[in-house]
């Protein structure tokens, strides 16, 4: 047994930072806020690295019991942490990328009046995210799950005076609630049938159960409900709509929460529950189909977006779809691998996009950019690396993970593979489109000469300028990670590293693929040759997408408009994101608002509750108005009332006296 790792420090440190900045940040200087914010997130990273240095595969999984939480009969939930290879990967991604983005934010948010609030929220997010990945049971995970949702809401609506930001925050929160509902029901089912929420205990009870191949049962229900939760958090069809809107938040937030870490929580949760999913082929199929469709669907929307962050947002949705596709075909380690590489290159893409936005003074419309290559060379360099990485150009990070997913998908069904391949092509296309529109050609923004003499003290003035070093260093580190991050997966090393996690449940039951694969054509690759063919195909589509983007946006920039015109209806639909938001608004939001307005507000609240209160008041006033006339000031009328009253009293007394006899 190993020494105490004190895992609890890792989430608690950022929480301390959040508290200090939250309570005292308003009166502190920016330097002090920066010190606190960076120190505590950096300390979490340092401790995480220390933990990595002290564990070996022999000591994992490691449990850490902190305190008792709920004890009810035989059911109990504790505050406890859990570390295995899977949470280790997540831990490093979250603390590592998180710390880099903290550094970047110093430069990006320096001029913001709510600088301290930003760092407080950011640290708070780190706390919840680390709680989520280190949880020992579903309920502690749920704390983190809800907490990151809260942090996400706070940070999307960070500029809450802007109406669109405030509504985007609300939208994210509400859509996530729908998913959480599914997650919660899954937890209730677990409690009901397994009397526990502890990962180990649940999986030990689940492991001996046979796969539900013949008919859907309990495990299928749990799996699908968990997937509903994952759909909310990880922005999958049908709940993906919040993520593009979430781009209203500051760009570092988009990078950290809405690209690198929080949105991958769903993938992590599904992977963590792999024991359940492996025994529920139908749930796995649901995961795979949702992932594949989302990947393709979001990628097509990405083609026509003109807002640089929206392109990246749909790209994120699409890449998350890949991860779910991997989980759905049972290749959980490939999904986690892609999660990691995606955290590197998508974090980098967002940060670079932030740097671009910074450079051109807050402009996000790519049509007003162009030719930025010479103004901001470092940003251009790092963004190019990230673009190459996401497009799947070897030997960058994205290539290895995406290729592995496609390869695993092919083993289950060529349909997944084909859609995945087409998506890879589209991904490559829209990413290079972004690159060309932003960095090549001529600058289409506001001309610098107009107010060049004012200097560039504030955003929106002067010619595009490179970001400060504090922003560029994280970009470079992430660029290096995007370059070499994929190499850990060469020769299936990453898969072997995670193997103890994903094979632990299979001691009792042969791997799921026997069951899942029988549904599709079994074409197990004959050794490496098939793998190389698939690899060649994905590389080919990556270059094809690149070439097409080069052709359309660099060589013949007038061509895209012509194509768009010729595809009138389809193009319109894509630009408007297939009218999904409008559809949801018509089907769900409007009836809800109308019902609330007409029935609950006007009907119940105004006509029933308010009316009762108001009528009671009015009634009292009217009655008093009548009774007031008794107070005439006329002495004789008072005397009359007294006489009449006495007469009544006497009459009653006589009546009672005679009645009593």
């Amino acid at each position: 047994m190993t020494a105490n790792l004190n895992l609890w420090l890792i989430p608690i440190l950022p929480l301390a930072g959040a508290a200090i900045n939250g309570f005292f940040g308003r009166k502190s200087s920016r330097q002090a806020v920066t010190t606190v914010g960076l120190f505590f997130s950096g300390a979490a990273l340092a401790w995480a690295l220390l933990v990595v240095a002290r564990v070996s595969s022999a000591t994992l999984p490691y449990h850490e019991y902190l305190a008792q939480w709920i004890r009810s009969g035989s059911f109990s939930v504790d505050f406890a942490f859990y570390l295995d290879q899977l949470s280790l990967v997540m831990l490093l991604v979250v603390t590592g990328v998180g710390f880099l983005i903290h550094i970047y934010s110093v430069g990006y948010m320096w001029d913001d009046p709510s600088y301290y609030r930003f760092f407080s929220y950011l640290n708070l997010f780190m706390f919840f995210m680390l709680t989520l990945v280190l949880a020992d049971n579903y309920l502690v995970m749920f704390i983190g799950w809800e907490g990151v949702g809260l942090a996400s809401y706070l940070l999307i609506g960070f500029w809450f005076t802007k109406d669109s930001a405030a509504s985007a925050g609300k939208k994210a929160f509400i859509v996530n609630r729908i998913g959480d509902f599914g997650f919660l029901i899954a937890l209730f089912l677990l409690i009901k049938h397994f009397k526990s929420l502890n990962f180990d205990q649940v999986f030990q009870s689940v492991a001996p159960m046979g796969a539900e191949t013949a008919s859907a049962g309990l495990l299928t229900a749990i799996g699908i409900l968990l997937m509903v939760g994952a759909c909310g958090k990880s922005a999958q069809i049908p709940l993906y709509i919040w993520l593009p809107d979430a781009m209203e938040g500051p760009t570092p937030v988009s990078a950290l929460i809405h690209a690198a870490t929080m949105v991958t929580a769903g993938v992590y949760m599904v992977s963590r529950s792999h024991v359940v999913f492996e025994r529920a082929p139908m749930a796995l199929t649901v995961v795979a189909v949702i992932g594949t469709l989302t990947a393709f669907f979001a990628a097509t929307i990405g083609i026509a977006q003109t807002d640089i962050k929206k392109v990246l947002a749909y790209s994120t949705v699409s890449q998350l779809g890949y991860m779910f596709m991997a989980c759905g075909v049972g290749a959980f380690s490939a999904g986690i691998f892609h999660l990691m590489t995606h955290a590197f290159f998508k974090g980098l893409l967002f940060l670079a996009a932030g740097s671009v936005i910074h450079a051109v003074g807050g402009e996000q419309d790519m049509r007003k950019m162009g030719g930025l290559r010479s103004y901001i060379p470092w940003t251009f360099l790092t963004m190019s690396i990230a673009t190459l990485a996401i497009s799947g150009v070897p030997p960058l990070a994205g290539f290895w993970s995406k290729d592995e997913i496609l390869c695993k998908a092919y083993q289950v069904s060529w349909v997944y593979w084909l859609i995945g391949l087409v998506t890879a092509f589209i991904t490559s296309f829209y990413m290079f489109r972004l690159l060309y529109m932003t960095f090549f050609g001529d600058y289409r923004g506001v001309q610098a000469d107009a107010h060049g003499s004012h200097g560039h003290d504030a955003h929106g003035h002067g010619e595009p300028h490179e970001s400060p070093k504090v922003m560029l260093v994280p970009l470079m580190i992430l660029a290096v990670l995007s370059l070499v991050g994929g190499l850990v997966g060469v020769g299936n090393r990453f898969e072997h590293f995670l193997a103890p996690v994903f094979e632990s449940g299979n001691k009792f039951y042969p791997p799921l693929l026997d069951a899942a694969a029988s549904a599709g054509p079994i074409e197990n690759p004959g050794g490496n040759s098939m793998e190389y063919v698939l690899m060649g195909a994905s590389v080919a589509v990556a270059f094809l997408g690149w070439y097409l983007a080069y052709l359309l946006y660099l060589r013949r920039p007038e061509l895209p408009q012509k194509i768009a015109d010729s595809l009138d209806g389809l193009y319109e639909a894509v630009v408007h994101k297939y009218y999904v938001d409008e559809l949801y608004a018509a089907v769900f939001v409007k009836p809800l608002i109308d019902g609330s307005t007409r029935i609950l507000w006007h009907g119940v609240d105004q006509d029933l509750i308010d009316a009762a209160v108001n009528d009671a008041g009015d009634g009292a006033r009217h009655v008093s108005d009548e009774l007031r006339h008794m107070q005439s000031g006329n002495l004789r009328s008072y005397a009359g009332w007294i006489a009449a009253g006495s007469a009544v009293v006497i009459a009653v007394m006589i009546w009672m006296w005679t009645g009593a006899r």
Partner: protein, 104 residues
């Protein structure tokens, strides 16, 4: 057999009659002096019933009560007449229907 004393009910009827006269006088008269006299009439009607009961039950309490009532009535007459004089000085009238400022 002719009773050797007047029965109680006679006293009570007279007392009730006096009291009713007082009430009616109070209600129909407008002059404050008359109203005041009506009050005295009511008080004395009640006094009569007190002494009648006291004699009937051979209890002294009724007699004592009457003395109390007389004392209070005398004090009340002093205060009441003073008020009436004050009212007359300010309002130049003794008609109660015109002394009606104390109303909403």
């Amino acid at each position: 057999m002719v009773p050797s004393y007047v029965p109680l009910s006679y006293y009570l009827l007279l007392s009730g009659f006096l009291f009713a006269c007082g009430v009616v006088g109070f209600l129909i008269k407008r002059n404050i002096i008359t109203i005041f006299m009506s009050i005295e009439l009511m008080l004395n009607g009640v006094n009569l019933s007190f002494v009648a009961f006291a004699a009937h039950w051979h209890a002294l309490a009724g007699q004592v009560f009457v003395f109390f009532v007389m004392v209070v009535a005398a004090a009340e007459a002093a205060v009441g007449l003073a008020i009436i004089i004050a009212v007359y000085r300010t309002r130049e009238t003794l008609n109660v229907d015109q002394v009606n400022l104390l109303k909403l």
